[in-house]
């Protein structure tokens, strides 16, 4: 497979604006940010969660509790995936039973990652609620899952790929839609 064209659908400013809006929506929906925990799904959800937490701190005056979830061991395609998944550390070092959890991921697509994340979370206890925040919802769900907070809805075809790039690991902030050549 080879990418023969790409279109930038969000730039750094658009990403920043989307995260700020999501932060406001989280404050609006949850009575107290103190009861909210922001949990990023590795890899890019982790960076998104950090930025979201910093903005929540700015607008609500409280730095929310944060966590990181690695869903590798919960994947339903663990034994069949084309590329071999690498296991990374999970860090949920707070009592989940007293928190409203906001799961954070960069792209919502089939919903299978979120299914795995929900399963992983259940192993840590029973949170008050679990909400989902994503930067991009590109459609094509394969499970009955939806996001509570969406940075941008980007209609795509399955032949396309959505690539989120963050300055922390990719050197730049942007969202690209890539056309895949099917060989």
């Amino acid at each position: 497979m080879q990418n023969n064209s790409k279109a930038q659908v969000m730039d750094a400013q658009a990403i920043e604006n989307a995260i700020v809006r999501i932060a406001h929506e989280i404050v609006e929906r949850n009575q107290s940010v103190e009861e909210v925990a922001i949990v990023g799904i590795r890899t890019r959800g982790e960076y998104l969660a950090r930025r979201l937490s910093a903005i929540l701190n700015r607008i609500a005056g409280i730095m929310p509790v944060q966590g990181v979830l690695d869903i590798t061991l919960y994947r339903d395609d663990l034994m069949t995936a084309d590329s071999q998944p690498v296991v990374h550390e999970t860090d949920i070092s707070f009592d989940v039973s007293v928190k409203h959890i906001v799961l954070v991921d960069d792209v919502l697509y089939t919903g299978r990652t979120i299914r795995a994340a929900l399963d992983a979370f259940i192993d840590f206890g029973r949170p008050k609620s679990i909400q989902l925040a994503v930067l991009v919802d590109r459609g094509h769900r394969e499970l009955p899952i939806r996001a509570d907070y969406v940075g941008k809805n980007i209609p795509t075809s399955k032949a396309q790929a959505v690539k989120v790039r963050f300055r922390e690991i990719d050197g730049t902030d942007e969202v690209l839609v890539l056309e895949k050549d099917i060989l």
């Binding site: 690498v86 296991v87 550390e89």
Partner: protein, 308 residues
């Protein structure tokens, strides 16, 4: 690190530095699972792990069993005392039968050096060496190295001494392979009769003076004196061994400050190590046991993921 391709773990001799590091990194991620309220992840759900032990073992077998169960695998223990092995079935026939039962991983402990390698050649399913004769005990060395790395932050450049019956120790051999590949300086120390010929070729220094082994060492790995294993060998008397080679508080005082004391267990208190050292602040013996689970989870996970 590309995809993991090894369906078996037979010894550290057969792994590259990068592969050993990949196991250690994966184990770091698995360590967290054992700290959870629900100590279980579904990664090996539907897989069957068979513990095939031809030698008595409690800690290694239990450690593998717990590791497999924390990954949600089903575990069967075959004890040679009560199995058809008593009727003379060969290792390979037993392995083929386990494969025919559609198990996915065999964890084998055998008193013959090379047993795991031979078994892996005859079955398609994964084979993990849990100790074969005097040859290798790779998961023990991996957990030793993992513990060292957790304690000291690195392996490269460390000075590690291994003390005890080097000649008959698969733990020593696996540690030497692993540590030297990762760039540690290894010294082995034992009475002359317990040092195998040409051990220097493995890239280690040799001494028969315990104080030489302790001097400048960042860590010392004290092997179990296996008086029960081979009574025909001319072992020094236990008391004499204690006098000349045991790790005691007195001797540690002359060693580097903060030296780490390891032991693969089970310990012989008052033979190769004094009780006060085994239970003291420099001992990481029980941390090794805890880390063994994470390391074995990583190994079980990786071999089951092998892309062939």
């Amino acid at each position: 690190m590309g995809a993991w391709k090894q369906k078996d773990l037979l010894g550290l001799e057969y792994l590259t530095k990068e592969q050993i590091e990949h196991i250690l990194t994966t184990a770091e991620s698995f360590k967290e699972v054992s700290t959870r309220g629900i100590k279980k992840v579904p990664a090996l759900r539907g897989k069957t792990v068979v513990n095939l032990f031809y030698e008595p073992s409690t800690r290694t077998r239990v450690s593998f069993e717990i590791a497999a169960k924390r990954l949600s695998a089903d575990v069967i223990n075959i004890e040679t005392e009560t199995s058809s092995i008593r009727k003379g079935e060969t290792l390979i026939d037993t392995g083929l039968n386990i494969q025919a039962l559609k198990a996915d991983i065999i964890v084998v402990r055998h008193n013959a050096s090379g047993a795991a390698v031979m078994l892996a050649r005859h079955v398609d399913i994964s084979v993990i060496n849990a100790g074969d004769g005097w040859h290798e005990h790779p998961t023990q060395a991996l957990l030793d190295i993992f513990t060292l790395k957790q304690k000291l932050g690195r392996i490269e450049g460390l000075k590690i001494s291994i003390v005890g019956d080097i000649a008959h120790s698969r733990v020593a051999r696996s540690n030497i392979w692993g540590l030297t590949k990762l760039g540690a300086e290894v010294t082995v120390c034992a009475p002359k009769m317990l040092i195998p010929p040409a051990i220097e070729k493995m890239g280690v220094r040799v001494t028969d003076k315990i104080d030489n082994a302790l001097q400048n060492a960042d860590a010392i790995n004290v092997l179990r004196m296996q008086f029960e294993r081979d009574e025909t060998t001319a072992f020094p008397k236990q008391l004499e061994y204690f006098k000349n080679f045991a790790i005691t508080e007195e001797r540690l005082k002359r060693a580097k400050k903060g030296i780490i004391v390891m032991h693969p267990g089970p310990i012989n208190r008052g033979i190769e190590i004094s009780s006060s050292v085994a239970d003291g602040g420099q001992s990481v013996i029980l941390e090794q046991v805890t880390n063994g689970i994470a390391v074995r989870m990583a190994v079980l996970f990786l071999v089951s993921q092998a892309r062939r």
